[in-house]
């Protein structure tokens, strides 16, 4: 594999990573705050040196016992949470900076930078200073600056955190164009980014890789609570038995087993909208009916999310406001949860 | 009452003899040494002095003019210009003559007393001096010679004596025609008794002898 290979540790941050990303793929790096996502990006950009281990990009070892390739020789573009536009240069000069650094003649650089600014919707801001921009405007200019250099590898550390909803789809489609076929890493907290931009995903927790692979393989089968929350499904852990998952208290949740499900420790994923709550067992057809206790109630716009306790694990159900009022849901209430077995994936 | 404890403002070139003078006589004297003209500025500015000793006539005249003195100034010593070279006389200087051609000569600027004397002396000798530097104080001339930076310098005999073995001294006969005069006077508003006792100390025989030891000429 000639994409990105990281097998390195940054001791002071307690981050130890072991990762392979295929060439030409866009990999989303997700995980809780402090998980090590920015650290991972720093190792690739050259801002951080690993204490031990190696980092290789497109077959070239850029950090390791053999030496350290400085950031400006890596062909890597970085866009961070903070836009970090050069305060002494105007917007156009910022966008031209990378091109000029690579020896592109002023005239060409100017034209390309202008085109790039146009594409992020900031063509009318060319002569402003960074301190005269709003947060979102600054971030768009920073994006234009990073993309203008047409880098081999693009690193994006939460680039859209401060962008407005109207702008985000444009920027997202711009990124899709630019990232196509280019090795890239996108740190994000937004599921939509993962689904629309990434082909691969890496899940980090407490400085370690907990899951990695193709989006299509990893996302539907979360093996960590973080990823389940991220994709908005319930995750139950237990023992896989024939056609179901046995929980700690012996309850078996019936579901559909994938090809790779083998007996032993396993998971069940259940979408929140596949869970119904009732005062008594509804005795409907192909469903699970299990006893639960309400833990918390959280309004979520059109629906209300009710989190219940199932054999010590959390299970979320999205109900309408009316249903919640009718049931008189409040923490501590005992209910029966019905779960469509066809909505339960076992693996 | 209390023992006399004079405060004396004196030209820098008097530093060593005056210090010894107080020590020998076992009197307490507070000295403030500096460039003569600067001392007058300070007196005008209200410096709390009892006695002022100047290293030249012009400065003493200015002090009198500014009205900071009390009583008549007294001349108490003289000084002669001599030629000094660094130890070993590396440039082979023989006097105020052709041996100075191409050598690095340092003298006082004509604006200061020692420089005025130097200019007059050169005229008497009939030589045009081509110095590499015209310093504003004798100390700086001497410093350039003792450090070997200059090949020769014109300083006062007292300075040459003070520098000891760091310099070789060549006397210039004509310099006796251009003696530099030292004057001492009580300061207006100072303690008159302390002042007169110190001036007494300087002008008395013991004081004069001590000044002679340091290379000064007789008043």
């Amino acid at each position: 594999m000639t994409g990105i290979r990281v097998d390195a540790a940054v001791r002071v941050r307690d981050v130890v990573l072991d990762l392979d990303l295929p060439e030409g793929s866009c990999t989303a790096a997700i995980g809780p705050n402090g998980a090590g996502k920015s650290t991972f990006v720093g190792l690739l950009s050259g801002a951080l040196r690993p204490d031990t281990g190696t980092v290789a990009i497109h077959g070239r070892t850029v950090a390791g016992p053999g030496g350290f390739v400085p950031p400006h020789k890596r062909g890597v573009a970085l866009l961070e949470q903070r836009s970090l536009l050069f305060p002494h240069l105007d917007v156009l000069a910022n966008a031209m900076f990378g091109l000029r650094s690579r020896g592109v003649p002023r005239h060409t650089a100017r034209a390309e930078a202008l085109a790039q600014l146009e594409r992020v919707g900031c063509a009318d801001l060319t002569h402003r200073r960074p301190n005269q921009l709003s947060g979102g405007q600054a971030q768009r200019v920073a994006l234009a600056r990073a993309l203008a250099i047409k880098p081999d590898v693009v690193l994006l550390d939460e680039p859209m955190a401060a962008m407005d909803v109207a702008a985000a789809p444009e920027i997202r489609s711009l990124l899709r164009t630019h990232l196509a076929g280019r090795t890239s890493v996108l740190v994000t907290h937004d599921l939509l980014d993962v689904l629309t931009l990434a082909s691969h995903v890496v899940v980090l927790e407490r400085g370690r890789v907990v899951e990695q692979g193709r989006v299509a393989d990893v996302l539907p089968r979360p093996r960590s609570q973080f990823l389940a929350d991220f994709t908005g499904v319930n995750l139950l852990f237990g023992d896989l038995v024939d056609g179901g998952l046995r929980l700690a208290d012996g309850t078996v949740v019936a579901g559909l087993a994938g090809d790779d499900a083998t007996a032993g420790p396993g998971w069940a994923s259940i979408p929140a909208n596949a869970v119904g709550l009732h005062l008594a067992d509804p005795h409907g057809s192909p469903r699970n009916a299990v006893d639960v206790v309400v833990r918390a109630v959280e309004p979520r716009g059109p629906v209300v999310r009710v989190v219940v306790d199932l054999a010590g694990q959390a299970l979320a159900a999205d109900l309408t406001t009316g249903a919640v009022a009718e049931l008189g849901v409040e923490p501590g209430l005992r209910l029966v949860a019905s779960i469509k077995a066809t909505a339960v994936t076992l693996y | 009452g209390e023992e006399a404890h004079p405060v004396v403002f004196a030209a820098a070139s008097l530093t060593n003899p005056f210090a010894d003078l107080a020590e020998n006589a076992e009197v307490n004297v507070d000295y403030s040494f500096g460039g003569s003209n600067g001392l007058v500025d300070q007196l005008v500015g209200g410096a709390p002095a009892d006695v002022f000793a100047s290293a030249n006539t012009a400065t003493m005249d200015r002090a009198v003019e500014e009205g900071v003195t009390a009583g008549e100034p007294v001349r108490f010593a003289t000084n002669l210009l001599v030629l000094v070279t660094p130890a070993g006389n590396p440039a082979g200087i023989t006097g105020l003559d052709e041996s100075l051609d191409g050598a690095k000569l340092v003298i006082c600027a004509p604006e200061v007393p020692c420089g005025a004397a130097t200019a007059a002396l050169a005229e008497t000798v009939g030589i045009t001096l081509e110095p590499v530097s015209e310093e504003s104080a004798v100390t700086d001339v001497l410093g350039k010679v003792t450090s070997g930076e200059a090949d020769a310098g014109l300083v006062y005999a007292t300075d040459a004596a003070g520098a000891g073995e760091d310099v070789e001294t060549l006397e210039i006969p004509e310099s006796s025609q251009h003696v530099n005069e030292y004057w001492i006077v009580a300061v207006k508003g100072g303690d008159a008794d302390s002042a007169s006792s110190f001036i007494e100390l300087v002008t008395a025989a013991a004081g004069q002898e001590l000044l002679a030891d340091f290379g000064f000429g007789p008043a």
């Binding site: 970090l84 650094s101 301190n131 | 003209n37 340092v106 530097s133």
Partner: protein
Amino acid sequence: MPRWTWLPFALGLTFLVVPLAGMLARVPWAELPALLVSHEAVEALGLSLLTCVVATAVSLVLGVPLALAMSRMTGRTAVVVRTLVTIPMVLPPVVAGLALLSTLGRRGLVGQHLSAWGIEIGFTTVAVVCAQVFVAMPFLVIALEGALRADSGDYGTVAANLGASPTRVLWRVTLPMSMPALVSGAALTFARALGEFGATLTFAGSLAGTTRTLPLLVYLTREQDTDLALALALVLVLVALVVVAVSARFNRPVST
């Protein structure tokens, strides 16, 4: 800014400004025009300006890398280097001159070797520049180092990621971003060199046209006429005013 701070502010400013007024009060205004066009004054001023410009340029060439290197140092090395650099600022100028004399002088540590090759710095205009650089360069270094350290280096990282070599980062990011400190440091250096007196006198001597800069002329003039010396000093003050005022105009901070 709390309101009470205006009291010490006013006191501080007054203390620094009133002596200038006192000085102006003593200047013999009638004699001033004639003095200012006198050959001596013009010559000294010209020499002062020339040497200070050269000294500031040399200080920039040597001092900027020094400040850069220092701003990247940590721990013991940083303390040692910073301390060494500061010493020329604290030496009484006459002592600084003596130190230079014992180093670059004819018999000095380095000077004796130069002398053997026929190079003698003493009593030349070069010696004036040396004295000025020695006492004034630390001002530039210290002013700049502080600013470089304060900049966390994030912008340098960004520039490097955009493909800028360290040299380009230096010229296009690091230095422009610390331009306020650079300009004010250079102005301080120029000003300090302009006022430099003790080290010049001790190391370079005082010859009209070659080594007698304006402060040396002031000192010399004072031996005869204090008020006239003050008038000459006024010229120094005026030049300094212009330099500092011009630098202050450039010194608008770059906000991030």
